[in-house]
């Protein structure tokens, strides 16, 4: 094929480049209090709907079911049970760093004692044979805490 024909057939791509869109999200009044609970008191705060009595964790302003404002804070402590788990085995880019995350890594939903909803976090056990739905777990806090969900290092079975 001559050079001209080849170039006519070529299908091109263009990249978006390396530019990033960085956001600064306000956590709001409810989430801030929850994150401060992790950072300053090493405890997990939930919030109770005064209409239906449901305790939400993480907390937020409105109960979706009742469409009511919530303001009754509940200290849920650090213990609960596993509602669901998965041992993730495929390599993954850590959204915090852009670097590959270490696998296997175990994602869990924890139902904290006194809560009606589940909190997602990690478990320090990656052998699925040693994990079961309903197992008791406790939050392990980092020594240096900055007011993020990562102030909890992970959960551990007790």
């Amino acid at each position: 094929m001559n050079e001209k024909e080849g170039s006519d057939r070529e299908l091109l791509e263009i990249t978006s480049g390396e530019a990033e869109h960085v956001y600064y999200w306000h956590c709001g009044h409810y989430v801030s209090k929850f994150l401060l609970g992790l950072r300053d008191k090493k405890t997990i705060l939930g919030i109770k709907c005064s209409r239906c009595g449901r305790v939400y964790v993480p907390p937020r302003e409105v109960c979706g079911r009742c469409f009511a404002t919530m303001n009754e804070w509940v200290d849920l402590g650090t213990e609960g049970t596993i509602y669901a788990f998965t041992v993730v085995k495929l390599p993954y880019i850590d959204p915090n760093t852009g670097k590959p995350i270490k696998v296997p890594r175990t994602d869990i939903y924890v139902k904290l004692e006194g809560a009606d909803t589940c909190l997602m976090h990690w478990l320090d056990e990656t052998d699925e044979k040693k994990i079961s739905v309903g197992a008791k777990v406790r939050a392990v806090f980092k020594e240096h805490r900055r007011g993020t969900i990562h102030d909890i290092e992970c959960f551990t079975q007790i």
Partner: protein, 381 residues
């Protein structure tokens, strides 16, 4: 509800790395749907596009498909979500009495971005996103909760994959058609326990369009109209931690509403063919239950019975479903397009003989936060 019909459909072939631009994909299906309906763009007075700015990598992405979708010089609007929801909006606008014929388009070129990163970015940035959640790990948590509650087995999930990938061999639009066994699925690489490589849908590029029309316009259309007999959608809690992951309350609600509208009392008996949004194999089993094809927890038994295979009492996903082609946001509209082909008797090798009533189902959001259910028929109410 006044009568509304679907009078035209168009799909691209679904594949990874399609070299057309997304406007070129949209133009292809807009043209196909018009030709299918025997219409020209002059006959269209309402356009609903479907775009997602993150997926397309640009702000106000709907504006980029204006010409391709026929929006230029017309009343056009946009939906960000699954195509079943765009169709729902198109239906509402058709019912307003202002418009005669509405084209609904949707496209996906997620292969051009980073799908896993994009799915991760669907989660709340303060909690689940920075813990690394994505579509696969969150679905694995849902699958675990569901399977643990009801004793549904990995083999039963694998049967869905075997069935749908085999059905895809009869669908010229499908992306992944495979002749596989339960053993192949069980031995495929574990991605996020209990979900394996062959339990998940591919990321597909492609586009789909349908044309909705008022009763008066539908009676003049080239093809036999397919009537909308019932439709509803319902949304669950945003955060997975607030949902009961062992069943879909939103799907149960949407299905009941759509059935009531369509006069369906026994969906398993009254529906002839169903196209459901099986992004993962276990989902098809959960959706059987939410759609009332069987009781809660019995989805595994239902697939095992063979009743949802081709030739069974209620074939589910003759097209191969979403497991065989997953253009995000397109996949639900493709379910509607497939249902229309079935009801016209134009589904070729995947035709369910004599189908009169079909169901199409779409989802939006992580693990099926929103469900939209359509009941269509080639018979008038």
């Amino acid at each position: 509800m006044d009568k509304v019909a679907i009078i035209g459909v168009g799909q691209t072939r679904y594949e990874r790395g399609n070299t057309k631009s997304f406007a070129e994909l949209v133009y292809e299906v807009t043209r196909k749907a018009l030709d299918d309906a025997g219409l020209e763009l002059d006959n269209i007075d309402n356009v609903v596009t479907t775009t997602n700015d993150f997926y397309d990598g640009r702000t106000i992405a709907c504006m980029a498909v204006a010409e391709a979708s026929g929006s230029y010089g017309r009343d056009a609007t946009n939906v960000e979500g699954d195509g079943t929801l765009s169709a729902f909006y198109g239906l509402m606008r058709t019912l307003s009495g202002v418009y005669d014929a509405t084209i609904v388009t949707t496209h996906c070129k997620m292969s051009e971005g980073n799908p896993r990163k994009l799915f991760n970015q669907a989660f709340d940035p303060i909690y689940d996103r920075i813990l690394g959640m994505d579509a696969i790990s969150s679905s694995a948590l849902q699958a675990r909760a569901y399977m643990d509650r009801y004793g549904v087995t990995e083999e039963q999930c694998a049967m869905v994959s075997v069935k749908n990938h085999a059905n895809a061999r009869n669908n010229p639009y499908a992306h992944v058609a495979l002749e596989i066994t339960i053993d192949d699925v069980m031995k495929s690489p574990m991605l996020a326990e209990p979900i394996k490589r062959l339990d998940i849908s591919p990321i597909s590029d492609g586009a789909c369009a349908i044309i909705l029309a008022t009763e008066e316009r539908a009676r003049k259309s080239a093809k036999k109209p397919v009537w909308v007999r019932g439709v509803a959608h319902c949304t669950d809690a945003y955060r997975l931690g607030e949902r009961d992951l062992t069943y879909s309350a939103a799907l149960e609600t949407a299905a009941k509403k759509a059935y009531k509208m369509a006069g369906i009392r026994n969906p398993f008996k009254q529906i002839d063919v169903a196209e459901v949004y099986d992004a993962f194999s276990y989902m098809e089993l959960m959706w059987y239950e939410g759609l009332g094809f069987c009781d809660r927890g019995k989805g595994g038994k239902l697939v095992e019975s063979g009743k949802t295979q081709m030739g069974g009492e209620l074939p589910v996903n003759p097209s191969g479903g979403v497991l065989s082609a997953h253009p995000v946001q397109v996949a639900g509209l493709a379910r509607i397009a497939e249902a229309v082909l079935q009801l016209r008797g134009e589904a070729g090798g995947r035709q369910v003989p004599g189908a009169k009533t079909a169901l199409a189902h779409g989802i939006t959001g992580i693990c099926g936060q929103t469900h939209c259910v359509w009941v269509l028929s080639n018979e008038e109410a």
